[in-house]
């Protein structure tokens, strides 16, 4: 995938990539030092995974904001659009490029895993499930970011849009507690928000439980946002 490869290489030329990495490592490091790597805790990545979403919901928008916006602003979209590639190729390339970078971020947490392995014996099945959960969540977050980036040529707007959306998915579990559970409609909203919350679905992964309903949640939302991005790309040329 030519587009994806170019995307990844150029990411490493931009300061944003290093800021993103720094923030991610800083956040994960703090979580790790404060909540995981403490005497008496189980040797597992569980809490690291559970807390990762609170960091990723603002790190991923930084990473994805320029994907399409920058192409629009610079006019390079004209060059890409007149190359013999379809909108689908373009979308897929950008998505794979961003996912690859996300996986590099995840790869950085192997440091934490290594520490756990030195000082204890983590469960490998559970560890695998943790990483799978993180990768799936990343996929959904990247799709949301990609969608907002395709909507505007302003990177700040793209970042804010994805930040708000991802913020909702991240905190809706907690926010649902604020809804008074008196009437039927409120109860319904309450359970909807719990369902929409990333935390609800990430929890089982971090415990080491693989459940297809959670798998379909992440894959489903990724697909929805990617499809919406595709529609935006297709429709842009009619304007």
């Amino acid at each position: 995938m030519t587009i994806a490869k170019r995307e990844v290489t150029s990411l490493f030329f931009s300061p944003i990539a290093y800021i993103v990495m720094f923030l991610f490592l800083l956040y994960m490091g703090l979580v790790f030092a404060g909540l995981v790597f403490v005497p008496g805790q189980l040797t597992e990545l569980r809490r690291l995974v559970d807390f990762s979403r609170f960091g990723l919901f603002f790190i991923v928008p930084l990473m994805t904001m320029s994907l399409f916006s920058d192409e629009y602003r610079s006019g390079r979209i004209e060059m890409l659009r007149t190359s013999p590639i379809t909108e689908f190729d373009l979308l897929l390339g950008k998505f794979i490029g961003a996912m690859f970078f996300f996986l590099i971020l995840l790869g950085l947490t192997l440091i934490h895993l290594t520490l756990l392995m030195i000082f204890g014996h983590p469960d490998y099945g559970q560890t695998f499930s943790c990483y799978l959960g993180l990768a799936l969540m990343g996929m959904m977050f990247v799709s949301v970011g990609l969608f907002y980036s395709s909507c505007t040529q302003n990177q700040i707007v793209a970042a804010l849009g994805s930040l708000l959306t991802l913020g909702f998915f991240t905190f809706s579990g907690g926010l649902s507690e604020l809804i008074p559970g008196s009437t039927k409609i409120f109860e319904w909203i309450h359970s909807a928000m719990i369902y929409l919350s990333v935390g609800t679905h990430l929890e089982d992964f971090s415990k080491g439980v693989l459940d297809t309903s959670h798998l379909s949640y992440f894959l489903g939302f990724s697909a929805i946002f990617l499809f919406m991005t595709y529609l935006v790309l297709e429709s842009r040329k009619w304007r």
Binding site: T2, I3, S10, G75, R76, E78, T82, S83, P84, K237
Partner: protein
């Protein structure tokens, strides 16, 4: 399979809301020729080009490039076209070599073809010594050349160049024009520009567009002849009398007073012939006015362009 024309445009229109940017234009570009696409800013040049390169879909009409319809066979068209967009958008953090390699991959060229072609186009666009430079550090002229190299990379039969000489210095402009002239024969070139000498130098045919409509097309010479060439005559004598006297000579289509005073200067339009000049000279000396200067002013394409694209000044 060969086509007589590589670019065929038939009643092509583009509307932005209620604004008609391009209004049912039709033209053809024969295979292997260089056609100049002229027009003032905002005339619809870039919109037309964007429709031809499949960046914008037309609102009405059809266009085909190398035998493929721009709307239904857009991927085929994009393979056959080399396009230099107006703003030359490039990835500024990449090296020239990397960028061209990236574009080659998008065109599905294999590794050895890419290497070969990059070396070829780099040599033709004089960027061989800059292949390892980061694009962001290059001057506008070099970036423009990278853009031209990029358009030629996949050796497309059709090239669409939107203002290719912008940002080049005078000697580079000459080189670029020579390069474009050399492309004729192997390539069909649609050259958008508003530099008129450029058109006179490199283009076989000219299409002039204004307010979304084609206002004239033909060879540069044909267009110039339509204007007729002019004579500038400087005479010591009363302007009014000079004007009416010269106007009475058969074969003259118009006389404009350019400068009034004891010495007047008039512009004479009509079929410029040696005979006519002799008649004017004879007339002036007959009346006892002093003939100070008479020179032929070859109608420039510029004059034609200004007249045809600006209705306000269309006196003739």
């Amino acid at each position: 399979m060969s086509h007589a024309a590589d670019i065929v445009v038939d009643r092509l229109s583009k509307a932005y809301g209620a604004f008609l940017a391009v209004d049912r234009i039709s033209f053809e570009v024969p295979k292997g020729t260089i056609v100049g696409f002229l027009g003032p800013n905002g005339a619809g040049k870039t919109t037309t080009i964007r429709m031809l390169t499949c960046y914008l879909p037309p609102t009405g009409g059809t266009a085909s490039v190398a035998g493929y319809d721009v709307f239904r066979q857009s991927l085929d068209v994009r393979k056959k076209i080399g396009y230099l967009p107006e703003s030359t958008p490039l990835y500024t953090e990449m090296r020239v070599q990397e960028y061209l390699d990236f574009k080659g991959k998008l065109h599905g060229m294999d590794r050895s073809t890419r290497q070969k072609r990059i070396a070829e186009v780099a040599a033709r666009c004089w960027i061989t010594d800059r292949l390892q430079s980061v694009i962001g550090t290059l001057s506008k002229g070099y970036r423009q050349r990278v853009g031209i190299a990029d358009a030629m990379l996949h050796n497309p039969p059709v090239l669409v160049l939107d203002e290719p000489t912008v940002g080049l210095d005078p000697s580079q402009i000459r080189e670029a024009r020579r390069l474009i002239s050399e492309l004729a024969g192997d390539h069909t070139v649609l050259l958008s520009t508003h530099i008129l000498q450029e058109v006179e130098m490199v283009c076989k045919r000219v299409i002039i567009i204004a307010n979304g409509k084609i206002v004239a097309q033909g060879t540069p010479d044909e267009l110039k002849n339509r204007l007729g060439s002019g004579l500038i005559v400087e005479v010591r004598g009363p302007a009014d009398q000079v004007r009416s006297a010269i106007n009475a000579i058969p074969g003259i289509t118009g006389v404009d007073v350019l400068q009034n005073g004891p010495v007047c200067r008039v512009g004479v339009r009509g079929k410029n012939s040696a005979e006519l000049r002799e008649q004017i000279a004879a007339l002036v000396s007959l009346r006892g006015w002093g003939l100070r200067e008479m020179r032929t002013e070859g109608a420039s394409l510029e004059e034609f362009f200004v007249r045809i694209t600006d209705p306000g000044s269309a006196a003739a």
